[in-house]
Amino acid sequence: MNFLWESFDKNEISILILLTIAYSLFFILPFKFKREITWLLMLLGFTIGVFFDFTIGGGLIDFFTLNDTNHYELFDFCYYLIFAPFSYFFIYFYDMFNIHKKTFIFYILLWVIVGVSMQWVFTKIGIVEFQNGYKIPFSFAVFLTTQTFTALYYEHVRSRFQVLKKN
């Protein structure tokens, strides 16, 4: 059992590249949210990634393997870290484009397509391997649930707190 990696090849390199791009963009974009809101959005994305992966991607259900093996490795953790900025950007642009009742469904659908497309790319570069009858269209259900939940949760937080930094 190796806690670092099974073999350091294209999927590990791809995760490093994706992490670099995602976190570079995170630091390049101006910080618009208050610190605790930024952390909250990052943590929400990370936790959703961990929750779904350990629930449907492991244990008895085990619909997919990450990074060539069912064992927990350093790069599995790095993979979950990608979900943190994904969630942050989702809300960042949600706020930036002032998404409202009429545009809500289109915005969610757009991000669901982005999410499912990313997962398809992950299968092509070997980060994720489906098994036990899981197919990529099933991911629509996962992303629709998570993106809708994240947006509604943000609306709830925004209705009760000052979320943006004061200029």
Partner: protein
Amino acid sequence: MAFTVFFVSAWLIISIFIIMPKRLTLIENTFIFLTTSVISINWTWIINEELKYVKITEDPTNYAGFLIFRSLIIPTLLMVQVNLYNASTSVMKKGLVFTASVICLLLLTILSRALEVSTYKDWNLGFDVVYYVILHFFSIGVCKILRKSTRNEVKHL
């Protein structure tokens, strides 16, 4: 049976959380729920699947009970505990809340073994006690750090 027991327990603890007067904000409660669920999920995976210290049932309905315990009951109970802990005015009351919450998790763990959801291999209840106590301290720490960080940000503005 295990599914019903854990489902009812989850319903009960979530209901208690919903109706109780909250001392923490929505953001603080969310932070506690998210951080403790990440730890709970990772901890159970490492102990059960990687180190094989505990064997988890292969019966689908009982396994659903295990998932409810791991991902819903533990983080929600910790949220309830931190709210009650912060509402307590004396050290004695804080200690009672802390102890009662740890005992609740231990009883559910014992129930989990009795209903054959989990079977100890190279593990014992003492290790679970240590884990739950650390998890409780961690949840209280998350709340304190968050409050301190928010206060500092207000000072800087």
